[in-house]
Amino acid sequence: MSTTQETAQARTRTIMYREALNEALREEMRRDPKVFLMGEGVAQRGGSYKVTTGLLDEFGPKRVMDTPISEASFVGAGVGAAITGMRPVVEILFVDFAMLALDQIANQAAKFKFITGGKGKVPLVLRTQGGVGSGLAAQHSQSLEALFYHIPGLKLIMPSTPYDAKGLLKSAIREDDPVIFIEHKLLYMTTGEVPEEEYSIELGKADIKRRGTDVTIIAWSHMVLRALAAAEKLAEEGIEAEVFDPRSLVPLDKEMIIDSVKKTENVVIVQEAVRRGGIASDIASIIQAEAFDYLDGPIEILAGKNTPIPFNLNLEKACVPQEEDIIEAVRRMVSGT
């Protein structure tokens, strides 16, 4: 169990990731009338991945709104509403479609506070989901977090467990800066323990999902599950991997990363997104700058291939890191070959 969860002494329940998100939305909407939701099918349909189920019934059509397929404008409307005192949670069905709204995200939401000399604020949450599913092909499978990561003014959260999903979404809604909150289509039905009581998780705090001494595996979103599975197998061989989940990519918990690296002296970063220009590269560049003398050898990045995602399932699988890839990379590194 993760460090964060260890500190939580509460009674827990086992729920799905999508239920955890639903609870976060519901609790925040009850707490604060300024919170409202909009997106395609979030109201009547309760969301493509059932994250917003039941919220229309409880909060009514003024606070849970179905939009037309006008991504640029409904995201921008979220920004405008946020500037004027609301706390919108806007859903974009697939992160791929966020490209249609990128001007409003990067040029409006991200810039507004800065441009106004800190006088304006944009408490907007943009929920979306990414990653490979099974056979959804090139325009419905991307991992595009690196684009948001590079735009100053945005926060970027990618939870891997129901516990993190709920706690981080609640904090994201209370945050005064725009937050890009990226879920993963393969995580919605995964389960995990979540406290009975209310809680939230501070943005910018990483979580060690498994402690280890031989290697630090840094992974986020769905790749955390692969890393954990790999770590279990590696443990059978006597290799103790630390699985490090930043959870929050912006802000990034650099200090905790460096501490882990100093302890293990070996780093594998696992990223579903394509290798070229991904966040893994940036994390690697930080580690080599700040912990150069601790590294036993080069940081290894396991990442998606530099290609759009193919429809065919065999090809698709070859495009993103698998459990076995992680095991092999760690073995190579620890054995020093």
Binding site: G41, A137, H140
Partner: protein, 318 residues
């Protein structure tokens, strides 16, 4: 309504029936687990692709949507390559890289289905622009949806096509839903062709379930475009015969409305035209149907026995 030859009506019916059989057969393959990913059936909308494509010539261009099997078939697509693509096989139109939402037949001028709602609108505009620059008489048709009409590229592209007098036909298949959201909830004027005049664009509305009405209006639109009097906005009203995709039960679709549109089934209407206007016999109609069913069986056989794409080759490419 003008009178059409038996051969013409038989051709239209064959296309309508092929789309119907293709979708029904592939839905079965989907349920068997042979097809994965998203599958948006064209059932109920067959007359639109059929009527519009019949009005085009082979060197024209089309762009399609996420609900694109019908357009590909009406454009003369090869069922074998289509099924193979849906199965992710190397022999498919896109060598298994694309799947349902990306089927394209570039060399034939079908620029492809599109996973981005409205994504094909600027592509069609560009095809028309290229033809216009080259001074050709080709026309480009974009099949788009009611949902796409609310995306920015719809207005932008319609405006540009108008400003540049392009040979461009923007077809809105208004099936009245974007997934489960009714068009009336997301716009005040659900007659979408009414958006054209604000841009000075010739705009018409047709019964999208009546293949001859679609054909006639499309023909006029094509004529206008070839005369340099394009673009044209063509709205075709229709309704799906099932939910948004294969796994959507479509519970939000009122039973009476569905029953009404099923009573106006475009395939049945096409058959009726063939029998009544075309004076074909019941047997002749059945012959067409049998031929289609046979072709479909062969396509499935071909696809199922086709090889998977080579992983090694793929890894070399990327």
């Amino acid at each position: 309504m003008a009178k059409y030859s038996k051969a013409m009506l038989a051709g239209l019916y064959k296309t309508l029936y092929t789309i119907r059989v293709f979708e029904n057969s592939c839905i079965k393959l989907y349920r068997q687990g042979l097809i994965r990913g998203y599958f948006h059936p064209y059932l109920g909308q067959e007359a639109i692709a059929t009527g519009v494509c019949a009005a085009l010539e082979k060197d024209d261009y089309i762009t399609s949507t996420h609900r694109g099997h019908g357009h590909c078939i009406a454009w003369g697509g090869d069922l074998k390559k289509m099924v193979a693509e849906l199965l992710g096989k190397e022999t498919g139109y896109c060598s298994g890289r694309g799947g349902s939402m990306h089927i394209a037949d570039i060399t034939a001028g079908n620029l492809g289905a599109n996973g981005i709602v409205g994504g094909g609108i600027p592509l069609g505009l560009g095809a028309a622009l290229g033809a216009s620059i080259r001074g050709e008489r080709r026309v480009a048709v974009t099949f788009a949806s009611d949902g796409a009409s609310n995306n920015g590229v719809f207005a932008e592209s319609l405006n540009m096509a108008g400003a540049w007098n392009l040979p461009y036909i923007l077809v809105i298949e208004n099936n009245q839903y974007a997934v489960s959201t009714p068009i009336e909830e997301v716009t005040r004027v659900s007659d979408l062709y009414k958006r054209g005049p604000g841009y000075g664009v010739e705009s018409v509305c047709v019964d999208g379930n009546d293949v001859l009405e679609v054909y006639q209006q499309a023909k006029e639109a094509v004529t206008l475009c070839r005369r340099g009097k394009g673009p044209v906005l063509l709205e075709a009203k229709t309704y799906r015969h099932m939910g948004h995709h294969v796994n959507d039960p479509g519970a939000y679709m009122p039973e009476e409305t569905l029953a009404y549109y099923k009573s106006k089934d475009p395939v049945k209407i096409g058959r009726k035209y063939l029998l009544e206007m075309g004076k074909a016999t019941e047997e002749e109609a059945r012959d067409i149907e049998k031929a289609v069913e046979h072709e479909m069986e062969e396509a499935i056989e071909f696809a199922v026995t086709s090889p998977e794409p080579s992983l090694e080759e793929f890894l070399k490419e990327v």
